[in-house]
Amino acid sequence: MLDEILKSIVEMEEEEAIKKAKEYLDGGGDPQKLLEVCRDAMGEVGARFEKGEYFLSELILGGEIFKQIMEFTLPKIKSGSVKKIGKIVLGTVKEDVHNIGKDIFKVFAEASGFEVIDIGIDTPEEKFVEAVKEHKPDIVGMSCLITAGVTSMKKTVDKLKEAGLRDSIKIIIGGGRVDESVKEFTGADAWADDAAKGVRLCKQLIGVEG
């Protein structure tokens, strides 16, 4: 049964995947095991994306299926019993009001076992600093779509340095206009322009195999 659920998610069979997941739980299945299978499925979707077999449309649909299954699965799992592999503070940088890239990344990061603290869009530098102080994340993820976001990213990295927090965190930047030169310009540790790569790099940054 779990194998079939995994296959349905990976093959983008939305209705089938949700129906089988419900049946599995109704039949007394272990929600923890279902969660793990869904995570594996999302890992496979990401892997196919990175191989060029899948596209953004599949990442979005896969994320949607995952979210729908989680809605009725997570309440059945005791809070605290789900092991997290790391913590990410995530936000779209100052002056940029777009959330799509950030939200797609968030689903995949959570599906990979990260705890994600989403601090929103148009996020001032100070808010990143405060969030790092408060949540002590392993990673800070900054997203932007518009080109103005690139300079906001640099300013945010600088503010984190000023606050003496830079050495305690890894920084990954992401978004459509981000590349290797933006990484160098901003002083981040890694960059990604898709969610699958972003999550893989986050795992590498904290030393979990990715």
Partner: protein, 409 residues
């Protein structure tokens, strides 16, 4: 010293040679624009988006100091509301005046919920931004298919525009738009005149849209639309088919002004697998491009993101159909596939201009041109035209100089 007329003629010939897949005297260069224009003039983004005089001065100053062959720092200052354009597809005189207007002043009048403007929803020095939204339910595809213009104008516009959601407010807004149209027209004419004095050729452009993008950006929201492709595939395809005609009608409203190009910015191209692209996106985009071609208008398509997976489909179009402007697709590879068929544009990552050094820019352009210059059919541009306000101006100069240095044939 060349006269402005001579300069404009030379620049136009350069661009047209590239579009016609020939070798001009030098690689044509399309300059940057965006936030840096206001910053360079010392005005805020808010002033740039809402004050026609200040915007005009800023645009002229920027184009004087950073010359190029084809400027995008010209006729508009903000972001638009796509359904607004197509609500007037059956009224060409209206769509030609306010339908395509991308100005903060229009945003103030209609109070749309899908854009964010500096000094309004966001801080006064931010870029104007388009964020879209969901304005249509899946059950409404049938209404859209039956009469797209009526549905967009009468059902969607009141949902998007807070100042058009009752008949009284809509009437008042339309009168205000009519009054504003005159100012926009004057602004466009004035900018055109001043740019002509600087030796810029007049290249009037109209706007086109891919039907699927219009549904994603303007009606269903892109994420919902991606899910619709699996949930309601037949309805989505019928809606795309129904939107081709209004898209062409609105675009052709500007034909009497002598437009030569239809700018079509793509959005969902990068999102889609080849199967989905070939089923939902390309057939209808192709219809739009061919529809413009029939009227003697070449399409100028911005292929956002990576178009690598769909590059070969461009060869379905007739040779010399227009310009393919690539963002993250490697233009070297694109040129290889499309040479002798399509004019290729792009090549310089905007990040290099924002964060690079003048030496790096010089070296990059030299290497790029070595590869893509031979044979012509190429226009050099940055990956996206919007340069943030902190973009070092010496880097923009370095780009201009490098094209001059390495771009000669």
């Amino acid at each position: 010293m060349k006269s402005p007329e001579e300069l404009a003629k030379e620049r136009l010939a350069r661009i047209e040679a590239a579009v016609n897949l020939e070798e001009p005297d030098r690689v044509p260069f399309s300059g940057v624009g965006g936030d840096v224009i206001a910053a360079y003039a010392g005005i805020t983004q808010e002033e740039f988006c809402f004050d026609y005089d200040k915007a005009k001065e800023a645009i002229v100053k920027f184009n004087r100091d950073f010359p190029c062959d084809w400027t995008f720092a010209a006729g508009f200052v903000g972001v638009g509301v796509p359904p607004f354009t197509y609500a007037f597809a059956d009224d060409p005189d209206v769509s030609a005046t306010v339908g395509m207007a991308m100005f903060g002043t229009i945003h103030d009048i209609i109070d749309d919920t899908c854009t964010r403007y500096p000094g309004r929803e966001i801080e006064k020095n931010c870029s104007p931004q388009f964020i879209g939204g969901k304005f249509m339910e899946p059950e409404e595809y049938d209404d859209l298919i039956e009469d797209p213009v009526k549905f967009i104008a009468e059902t969607i516009i009141p949902r998007i525009c807070r100042n058009m959601n009752t008949p009284r407010k809509a009437m008042a807004a339309m009168i205000r738009l009519g009054m504003e149209a005159e100012k926009i027209k004057n602004f466009t004419i004035e900018v055109g005149k001043e740019l002509a004095q600087l030796g810029y050729p007049a290249i009037p452009i109209t706007l086109g849209y891919t039907p699927l993008d219009l549904i994603g950006d303007g009606l269903r929201d892109e994420l919902n639309l991606i899910l619709d492709l699996r949930r309601y595939p037949d309805k989505v395809k019928k809606a795309c088919e129904a939107l081709v005609e209004p898209i062409l009608k609105a675009g052709l409203a500007l034909k009497p002004l002598g437009v030569k190009y239809a700018f079509i910015p793509l959005h969902l191209n990068e999102y889609l697998s080849p199967e989905l692209y070939n089923e939902f996106y390309w057939p209808y985009l192709k219809e739009v491009i061919l529809g413009f071609a029939k009227e003697g208008i070449k399409s100028f398509v911005f292929f956002e993101g990576r178009h690598d997976a769909h590059l070969e489909t461009i060869l379905d179009l007739p040779k010399g159909w227009g310009i393919a402007y690539f963002e993250k697709t490697d233009v070297r590879k694109a040129k290889e596939i499309l040479k002798g068929h399509t004019c290729v544009m792009g090549g310089v990552p905007i990040s290099l201009i924002v964060g690079g050094t003048t030496e790096k820019i010089d070296a990059y352009v030299k290497e790029l041109l070595d590869e893509v210059k031979p044979g012509g059919g190429y226009i050099l541009a940055t990956s996206v035209g919007i340069a943030p306000r902190e973009t070092p101006v010496e880097n923009i100069r370095a780009l201009i100089e490098a094209v001059e240095k390495y771009g000669r044939y």
